[in-house]
C-alpha cells in the first residue's frame, strides 16, 4: 500500500471507502504526466492544453462526484451522524443553488466552490475558506494525508494503533473516545480521531475541487468534517455560534499532533527497519534504498515497503541543495524508473493476497492505484531518456544514505514549519539587571485593539506597521505587589518584562482581540468595535527586523495579507463570520514538489539496478504491465490527454486532488494565462502577473472583489456601530 505514495502520490489514500478510491485513482492517473523533457511552452500551447484537458476533467469529476455522493449517502445511513446534526445540518439543495448564484459575471457558477452553512457554521466555513487559500497549505495537507494513509497501511495491526491513541488524545476526551471506539464499526474505526479531522479536512478540499471541476453550483456540505471535529472536541457540539479563532487554534493543533504522530511512527519504523534493510541487500552496488526494496520479497510486505519509502523521504530533503543542477534530467529519469517500485508493490500485494485474507482485501483495494501508477510509468518510460538512467540518477540518491532524523522530523511537521513562530519572554531584574529568557512557540499573535490611535496614522503603511509593532512587541514593568522574584538577588524586585519574537512563521496569523471577556464566560464577552487598520502589507517585527529598523534599515521581510476573517455582530456567541481571501494562483506552489520528485528519484535507482540486472525486477514489471492493461480502463485516454501537455509534469499531482480550481469565467481578463486550473506556464508564473483578485466567501455566496473593493470594506466605517470588523488576519511572508 505504501506504493501509492511512493509510486504516484496523492489523495486517494486518505479515503477509506472503496468507491472513492476508484474515482480517485482515476484522477491520480490523470495527474501523472508522461516524462517529456520540459519545453518552455508559449502561451498558445498553454491555452490549447487547457482546452485539451477540459474534457477528461469533466468526465473525471462526474465520476468523482457520484462516488463521493454515494459515500455521503452511505455515511448518512450507516455513519454515526447525530440526529440533531441531520436536522440542522442539511440545507436543501435548492436553497443552496439559489444562494450560490449571484451577480458574478457571465455565469451562475461561483468563482470557486462554495460551502453551505449547516446552521451557525459560518465560523467553520470562514476557516475552511481561508485555509484553502493559505499559501502551500492544501499542497502540504495533501501530502500529510497521503503519508498518513501510508503509515496506516503499514501499521494495520490494531495493536500498534491503540497504543498510540492513548498518547494523542487528551484526558478530557478519554471517555469520549472509548465510547466512540465501541460505536464505530466501519473500516476506519481504529483511526485516531484527531487524525480523522485532518483527513476529513482534506476530503472537504477534495470535494470542493471536484465541485469546481464540474462547475457545480451546489454548495458543499461539510457535515462529515464537522462531525469529525465534534468527535474530537465536544465544544463544537450543538448549533451554537463559535469563535472562529478557537476553531482555528484547535485545527492547527490537531494537524500538528497528527504530523507529530506520523513522524513518530515513521521513526519507530525506521529504527526497526534499519537492521533488516542493511543485511538483506542482495547487491553490493546498491545503496540502502535499493536493497530495502529488493528486500520486499523476503520480509513482510508492509514494513519493507515503508522502509523504502522512508529512505526516499530522506532523499528529497538531501537533494534540495543540489536540486537545480540536476533538475530536469532527474525528473525525466525518475518517472521512467517508477516501475520498479511499483512492481515491488504489486509483488507484495500479491504475496499478501495468498497469505492473509485480511491483507488481501487491503491489497485488492490498492490494486487499481498500483496499476495506474504502473501504467503511467510505462507511458513515461517510453518517452523518457532512459539511457541516462544509470548515470545521473544515482547522484542524488547516494546522498540519501546520510539521512538526518532531526531534520526529517521538523520537515514533516508542516504545521510547525508554516504556522509556528517563537516568542521570547525576557525578564530583567531592575536591581541586578540580570536577564532571564523563556522561549515559547505560538501559532497566532493576539493584537490588542489600540483604541487611542491617531487617525492620521491610518494612512501611512509604515505607521500602520508601527502601530502593529507597538501593540505586539510589548514591554511591561513588574512592580508593586507584582514584583519579580529574582534568583540572583534572592528577593522580590521590580523587573522589566518584554515579549519579543525570535522568529515569525511563514504564515502569520494575527488575532485582533476584539472580545474582552468579563468573568471569562462566553456569554459575557463584549466586543470592541474600534477601528484597527488592516494593512495589505505588514512589516515584519521579528528580532532581526526590529534590529534593522533601529538601524534605520529596511526590514528583512514583509508580510502580505492573504486572508481576513471579519466578524459581524455584537458578541462572540452571536453574529456572522465572513472570510476574504486572496485568490492567488497556487500553481507555483505545486511546482517542483519535493515529495513528487523523491518518489521518482527512488525509482531511478531501482529501475537502474533492477530493471537491467535483475530478473526479479523484470518479472515484476511484467506483472505490472499485465495489471495495467487489464484493470485501468480509461486511464489510457486520460493519460494520453496529458501527454500532450508538456508542462503538466512540473506540478505536483496533488493539485488535481484538492487544489483550488477557480472558475475561468472569473479569471481577470488581462491574465489569460493565470488560470488556477493547474496548467500554468512556468514563464507566466515567474513574472509577477496581474494583481490577484479577492474573494468574499460568505458561506454559500462567493463573490469576486478587486483589491480596491476589499480596501473599501476594510476602510474605517463612519459609524462606530457598524460591527463588521476584521477579526483574524492572515499574512504570508514575502521576502
Amino acid at each position: 500500500m505504501t506504493v501509492i505514495a511512493t509510486g504516484t502520490s496523492s489523495s486517494e489514500t486518505n479515503g477509506p471507502p472503496p468507491r472513492k478510491k476508484i474515482c480517485l485513482s482515476l484522477s491520480g492517473k490523470g495527474r501523472t504526466k508522461p516524462p517529456v523533457t520540459v519545453a518552455e511552452a508559449d502561451s498558445t500551447s498553454e491555452m490549447s492544453v487547457t482546452v485539451n484537458r477540459a474534457d477528461p476533467n469533466k468526465r473525471r469529476v462526474k465520476r468523482n462526484f457520484t462516488a463521493s455522493d454515494g459515500r455521503l449517502r452511505r455515511e448518512a445511513l450507516t455513519g454515526p451522524l447525530e440526529p440533531g446534526m441531520m436536522l440542522n445540518g442539511f440545507v436543501s439543495d435548492s436553497v443552496n443553488s439559489i444562494a450560490a448564484s449571484d451577480d458574478s459575471p457571465g455565469s451562475d457558477v461561483p468563482p470557486v466552490a462554495t460551502i453551505c452553512n449547516l446552521g451557525n457554521t459560518c465560523f467553520l466555513n470562514s476557516i475552511l475558506y481561508t485555509l484553502r487559500f493559505a499559501p502551500h497549505f492544501l499542497h502540504k495537507l495533501h501530502h500529510l494525508v497521503n503519508d498518513l494513509a501510508d503509515a496506516a497501511a503499514r501499521n494495520n495491526t490494531s495493536k500498534v494503533k491503540s497504543s498510540s491513541l492513548g498518547r494523542s488524545i487528551g484526558l478530557s476526551n478519554k471517555h469520549y473516545w472509548n465510547m466512540e471506539q465501541m460505536r464505530t464499526s466501519n473500516e476506519n474505526c481504529t483511526k485516531k480521531r484527531v487524525q480523522t479531522v485532518t483527513e476529513k479536512l482534506h476530503e472537504v478540499y477534495e470535494s470542493l475541487h471536484s465541485a469546481e471541476l464540474k462547475e457545480s453550483t451546489e454548495p458543499f456540505q461539510p457535515e462529515i468534517f464537522l462531525h469529525a471535529l465534534r468527535e474530537v472536541n465536544p465544544i463544537f457540539e450543538g448549533n451554537q455560534q463559535h469563535d472562529a479563532h478557537e476553531l482555528l487554534g484547535c485545527l492547527l493543533n490537531y494537524m500538528r499532533e497528527t504530523c507529530q504522530d506520523l513522524s513518530k511512527q515513521l521513526e519507530s519504523h525506521q529504527n526497526s527497519e534499519l537492521c533488516n534493510g542493511t543485511c538483506s541487500s542482495d547487491d553490493g552496488k546498491k545503496e540502502t534504498k535499493g536493497s530495502l526494496l529488493a528486500h520486499v520479497g523476503l520480509s513482510s510486505s508492509t514494513s519493507s515497503i515503508s522502509s523504502g519509502k522512508w529512505n526516499v523521504r530522506k532523499s528529497w530533503k538531501r537533494k534540495k541543495p543540489s536540486n537545480e543542477s540536476i533538475f530536469k534530467p532527474n525528473r525525466t529519469v525518475k518517472n521512467g524508473s517508477q516501475s520498479s517500485v511499483i512492481s515491488n508493490g504489486t509483488l507484495t500485494a500479491q504475496q499478501a493476497n495468498s497469505e492473509d485474507p485480511t491483507s488481501s482485501i487491503e491489497s485488492a483495494t490498492n490494486e487499481p492505484r498500483i496499476l495506474v501508477n504502473g501504467e503511467v510509468h510505462e507511458a513515461g518510460e517510453g518517452d523518457s531518456s532512459s539511457k541516462e538512467n544509470g548515470s545521473c540518477s544515482l547522484r542524488p540518491l547516494q546522498e540519501t544514505d546520510e539521512g538526518d532524523h532531526a531534520e526529517d522530523k521538523t520537515r514533516l511537521n508542516f504545521i510547525e514549519e508554516d504556522f509556528e513562530g517563537v516568542s521570547v519572554l525576557c525578564t530583567r531584574c531592575l536591581e541586578c539587571e540580570c536577564v532571564t529568557e523563556r522561549k515559547e512557540t505560538f501559532y497566532e499573535i493576539g493584537v490588542p485593539i489600540a483604541s487611542d490611535q491617531d487617525p492620521e496614522k491610518r494612512e501611512d503603511c509604515e505607521q500602520i506597521s508601527e502601530l502593529y509593532r507597538s501593540s505586539i512587541v510589548t514591554e511591561e514593568l513588574l512592580l508593586n505587589v507584582n514584583k519579580y522574584w529574582c534568583e540572583h538577588c534572592l528577593r522580590y524586585n521590580e523587573a522589566r518584562r518584554s515579549v519579543k519574537y525570535e522568529s515569525l512563521p511563514p504564515l502569520l496569523i494575527l488575532h485582533l482581540k476584539r472580545f474582552s471577556s468579563t468573568f471569562g464566560s462566553m456569554v459575557c464577552m463584549s466586543k470592541v468595535n474600534d477601528y484597527m487598520p488592516t494593512p495589505l502589507i505588514l512589516d515584519c517585527f521579528c528580532d532581526e527586523c526590529l534590529e534593522a529598523i533601529s538601524k534605520d534599515e529596511d526590514v528583512k521581510h514583509r508580510y502580505q495579507l492573504y486572508g481576513v476573517i471579519m466578524h459581524l455582530g455584537a458578541t462572540i456567541a452571536s453574529g456572522h463570520y465572513v472570510a476574504y481571501v486572496r485568490a492567488a494562483d497556487p500553481i507555483s506552489e505545486y511546482r517542483s514538489c519535493d515529495k513528487d520528485k523523491r518518489k521518482t528519484a527512488s525509482l531511478v535507482a531501482t529501475n537502474a539496478t533492477k530493471g537491467s540486472n535483475q530478473p526479479d525486477g523484470e518479472k515484476a514489471r511484467g506483472l505490472l504491465r499485465f495489471f495495467s492493461k487489464t484493470k485501468s480502463n480509461n486511464s489510457d485516454t486520460v493519460s494520453s490527454n496529458h501527454l500532450g501537455n508538456p508542462h503538466y509534469r512540473n506540478t505536483c499531482r496533488s493539485l488535481d486532488c484538492c487544489g483550488v480550481r477557480m472558475n475561468k469565467a472569473y479569471q481577470p481578463a488581462d491574465s489569460k494565462a493565470h488560470a488556477v486550473n493547474g496548467c500554468g506556464n512556468e514563464e507566466e508564473v515567474e513574472d509577477e502577473g496581474p494583481e490577484p483578485s479577492w474573494l468574499e466567501c460568505d458561506d454559500e455566496t462567493v463573490r469576486v472583489l478587486t483589491r480596491q473593493q476589499l480596501e473599501d470594506i476594510l476602510a474605517p466605517k463612519q459609524s462606530k456601530n457598524s460591527s463588521l470588523t476584521p477579526y483574524l488576519l492572515f499574512y504570508s511572508r514575502i521576502p
Binding site: E433, L477, L490, E494
Partner: protein, 671 residues
C-alpha cells in the same frame, strides 16, 4: 486580661511574625553593600548593608575596624546620608522605612513610614539641612532634618505626579547643597527636576533609553550628570534643559557616580565592575581606575581626595587609590580606546573584609532543621525551632549533607524562609492553620528529658512562646531565663511567666512583625520584649491568635486526618468500610492497638468505632505493655506496603499513600 488590637495601626492586613537566626554580633556584612558615607571629624566610615545593618568602621584601625552596628532595618538598607555635620544619619530601606539615627552612638531616633514601597534613594542639601527620600512608590518626600531630629516629620511632600500616567519607580535622586534643585531618575527613563523650595516642577529631561540609576548635581544646580542602565552617562544643562554630552564608557549599566566639587571629573562604576575616571570636558581623557570583583554600587572619596572607598554587591569594602589628575591626561590617548585599558590599580589600598551570605537552603523533612550553603561554599545546619545554628561544616558537599540528614518522616510546613539579607529569616505561617500545622512528639523532637512522658507539642506554638517569652514578664527574671534551655520551672504555667517549658531562643534574636508580603511594622529583640514601650507596641501589632498562644497558653487545634481501616484481603475477614478520623501525628502503632482492641478483640463491634484511635491512644498511654503487644499481633499495610509502627499517619499518607484522597489502611493479624 489583655487588650489587644488584632492588627493595630496596620489596618486590615494580616500580620506575620518572623525572626532572624544569626549571631549576636555580626561583625561583617553578610551581603552586598549598597551605600557608603564618610565622616571626616571622627574618621568613620558608614556602610549600608543588604543584610539590613548599617556598620560603622574606623578605617584607620586595621585591627578592629568595626565600631558600631546600627541594627533596626529588616531589609536591605539602600541608601544613607550623614547630616548635621556627622551627628545624624538618615537611612532608607527596602523595608519601606526611612530612619533617623544618632550617628555617634548608633541608635535609631525615629522611623518614617510614609513610603509604601522600597525606599531606594536619598538626597541631601547640606546648606539647608534637608533630606529627600524617594522610592518605588513613585513618591518623593522632603524632610527637614532639624524637624526630624525633633521627632516630628515634616509634611513637605512632593509627589512625582506622572503626567502621562506612566509607572515611574524612582531609583536615583540628587540635590545640590543649596537645595535649589532636586533631580529624580526613574524607570520612566526621563529625569524630572523640581525646585524643592516651592515643590514646583521645573523640567523633564528625555534621552536615556533605560532606567536612570545614578545622579549628581553640581553646586549651583546648573548641571547634572546621570548614569543609566542603558550603559551611558549624560551631562545635562539644567539651564538649557538639554543633554550636552553622552558618554559611552561602560559596557553595561552605570550605577554609581562620583563627581568632584568643580564638576570637572567623574568617577563612574556599574554592572561591568569597572571604575573609570573621566574628564567631563574631554571624555577621551579617561582612565580605568580599577576593576572590582562585583558590580559597583557606591563610591565615596577618602578625605584627602587621593582614593575612593567602593561598595559592591559583594560584602567587602575596598579602598582604591586614584590616579593624580595630571596622569589622567597623560595616560589616556584616544588611540588606546581600542585596546582593553589596563587599570591603574590592580590591588586595593585597604580592604574591610566581608562575610559570607547564605545563598541556598534546604528544609529537611522534619521541618525543623535547615541545611544552608553560603557564598563561600560553607555548609551549615540550623535549628529553626531554637533559632540557632547547630553545626558549621565548612565546605562539604551540600547535596550530600542534605541526603545524609533527610529522614523518612513527614511534617507539614509551618514556616517560610527568606534569604534576602544573606541571613536566615524565618517567616512563620500567616495564620493559625499554617503556623500550627506541625504537631510532633517531644520524644521525636528530642525535647523531653530522659524518661519523661511523651507529649505532643506544636512547633509554631513553641517558637512563638519562646520568641515572646519576655513579654510582660518581670525584667528581673530575664537574666536567669536566658540560655537556660530545657529546665521547666514551676511557674511556667502561670500567665505572668512566658515562654515554653522546653527551650528559649537566644535573646538577641530579632523578632519582626510585618504585613504579609510587605511593610515591616515592628522589630525588636526577643530579650527586649519585656520593656514597657516594647510591650505597648507589641500589644498594637501582635495578631490575636498569637496572643492567645503566648499569653493565654491556649493549645492550637490538632490536625485531623480521615482514613479507612479495612481488613487486608489475605486475612479473609469481611467488615464494613469505616471512615475514621485521627490526629495526623498518630503513629501506626496506635492504630494497631485500636485494631487489636476494638476490631479484633471485640469481634463484630467494629462497625461502631466512631471515636477512632484518638480514644485508643489515651488508653494506650496507661498500658505500655499493650503497645508492644499490638505491634506483634497486628500488621498494618497501606498500598500493600508494611507500615513501621513508629510511622505517623501523615507520613504514611505522604510517602506511601501519595494521594489526596482519603487514606486507606489494611490490617491483618500476625499469625
Amino acid at each position: 486580661m489583655m487588650t489587644h488590637k488584632t492588627s493595630g495601626s496596620s489596618g486590615k492586613k494580616k500580620v506575620q511574625v518572623s525572626y532572624v537566626i544569626r549571631d549576636e554580633i555580626e561583625p561583617r556584612h553578610r551581603s552586598g553593600v549598597n551605600s557608603l558615607q564618610y565622616s571626616p571629624p571622627l574618621d568613620r566610615l558608614y556602610s549600608a548593608g543588604r543584610d539590613g545593618i548599617i556598620r560603622v568602621w574606623t578605617p584607620g584601625n586595621s585591627k578592629e575596624p568595626l565600631g558600631l552596628t546600627m541594627e533596626h532595618h529588616t531589609d536591605w538598607v539602600n541608601d544613607i546620608v550623614l547630616c548635621c555635620g556627622g551627628r545624624n544619619l538618615i537611612s532608607a530601606s527596602s523595608d519601606t522605612t526611612v530612619k533617623v539615627w544618632n550617628a555617634h552612638k548608633g541608635f535609631c531616633m525615629s522611623t518614617l513610614r510614609t513610603h509604601k514601597d522600597y525606599v531606594k534613594a536619598l538626597a541631601y542639601a547640606k546648606d539647608r539641612e534637608q533630606v529627600a527620600s524617594a522610592g518605588l512608590d513613585r513618591a518623593i518626600f522632603l524632610w527637614d532634618i532639624n524637624t526630624l531630629t525633633a521627632l516630628t516629620a515634616s509634611n513637605n511632600v512632593v509627589t512625582t505626579s506622572s503626567v502621562s500616567g506612566n509607572k515611574d519607580s524612582i531609583y536615583s535622586l540628587a540635590m545640590n547643597p543649596s537645595g535649589t534643585v532636586i533631580v529624580s531618575g526613574s524607570t520612566e527613563k526621563v529625569l524630572r527636576v523640581w525646585d524643592p523650595r516651592t515643590c514646583s516642577k521645573l523640567m523633564k529631561l528625555k534621552g536615556h533609553k533605560d532606567n536612570v540609576k545614578a545622579l549628581a548635581v553640581n553646586r549651583d544646580g546648573s548641571q547634572c550628570l546621570s548614569g543609566s542602565s542603558d550603559g551611558t552617562m549624560k551631562l545635562w544643562s539644567l539651564g538649557q534643559q538639554r543633554c550636552m554630552q553622552t558618554f559611552h564608557i561602560h559596557d553595561e549599566g552605570v550605577w554609581a557616580l562620583l563627581v568632584n566639587d568643580s564638576f570637572t571629573h567623574v568617577l563612574s562604576g556599574g554592572r561591568d565592575r569597572k571604575i573609570f575616571m573621566t574628564d567631563l570636558r574631554n571624555p577621551d581623557r579617561r582612565v580605568l581606575v580599577c576593576e572590582e570583583s562585583e558590580p559597583v554600587l557606591k563610591m565615596i572619596s577618602t578625605p584627602d581626595q587621593t582614593g575612593i572607598w567602593v561598595a559592591t554587591s559583594a560584602s567587602a569594602i575596598k579602598q582604591w587609590s586614584l590616579p593624580k589628575l595630571p596622569t589622567l591626561s597623560e595616560s589616556s590617548h584616544p588611540n588606546d580606546y581600542e585596546e582593553a585599558p589596563k587599570p591603574s590599580n590592580t590591588k586595593p589600598e585597604k580592604m574591610i573584609k566581608g562575610g559570607a551570605a547564605i545563598r541556598q537552603f534546604s528544609v529537611l523533612n522534619d521541618k525543623r532543621h535547615i541545611v544552608t550553603k553560603d557564598t563561600e561554599n560553607n555548609v551549615a545546619v540550623y535549628d529553626v525551632l531554637k533559632a540557632i545554628k547547630v553545626e558549621d561544616m565548612g565546605p562539604v558537599d551540600y547535596e550530600e549533607e542534605i541526603k545524609k540528614r533527610q529522614k523518612m518522616v513527614y511534617v507539614p510546613n509551618w514556616f517560610n524562609i527568606d534569604l534576602k539579607t544573606g541571613m536566615l529569616t524565618i517567616h512563620l505561617g500567616q495564620d493559625e492553620n499554617d503556623c500550627f500545622s506541625a504537631w510532633v512528639s517531644t520524644k521525636e523532637a528530642g525535647l523531653s528529658a530522659g524518661d519523661a512522658a511523651d507529649q505532643k507539642v506544636n512547633y509554631g506554638n513553641l517558637v512563638l512562646q519562646a520568641l515572646l517569652e519576655h513579654w510582660w514578664r518581670p525584667l528581673a527574671n530575664d537574666e536567669e531565663a536566658d540560655g537556660q534551655g530545657d529546665s521547666p520551672s514551676a511557674g511556667s504555667n502561670t500567665h505572668t511567666r512566658g515562654g515554653n517549658e522546653y527551650f528559649s531562643v537566644p535573646g538577641h534574636t530579632p523578632v519582626i512583625l510585618s504585613e504579609v508580603g510587605g511593610r515591616t511594622l515592628y522589630r525588636l529583640l526577643a530579650r527586649d520584649a519585656g520593656g514597657e514601650t516594647e510591650g505597648v507596641l507589641l500589644n498594637e501589632t501582635v495578631p490575636s491568635w498569637v496572643v492567645d498562644i503566648v499569653m493565654e497558653k491556649t493549645l492550637p487545634v490538632f490536625i485531623k486526618i480521615p482514613f479507612y481501616l479495612l481488613p487486608h484481603g489475605s486475612s479473609g475477614m469481611r467488615t464494613k468500610k469505616d471512615r475514621l478520623i485521627a490526629n495526623d501525628f498518630i503513629q501506626v502503632r496506635k492504630v494497631a492497638e485500636h485494631v487489636l482492641e476494638k476490631v479484633l478483640g471485640a469481634g463484630s463491634e467494629s462497625g461502631s468505632v466512631a471515636a477512632g484511635p484518638t480514644s485508643a491512644e489515651k488508653e494506650a498511654e496507661d498500658t505500655q505493655e499493650l503497645n508492644s503487644l499490638a505491634e506483634e499481633k497486628v500488621e498494618l499495610l497501606c498500598n500493600d506496603i508494611m507500615l513501621e509502627p513508629n510511622m505517623d499517619l501523615r507520613t504514611v499518607r505522604h510517602f506511601i499513600w501519595k494521594s489526596s484522597s482519603d487514606l486507606v489502611l489494611h490490617y491483618r493479624p500476625v499469625k
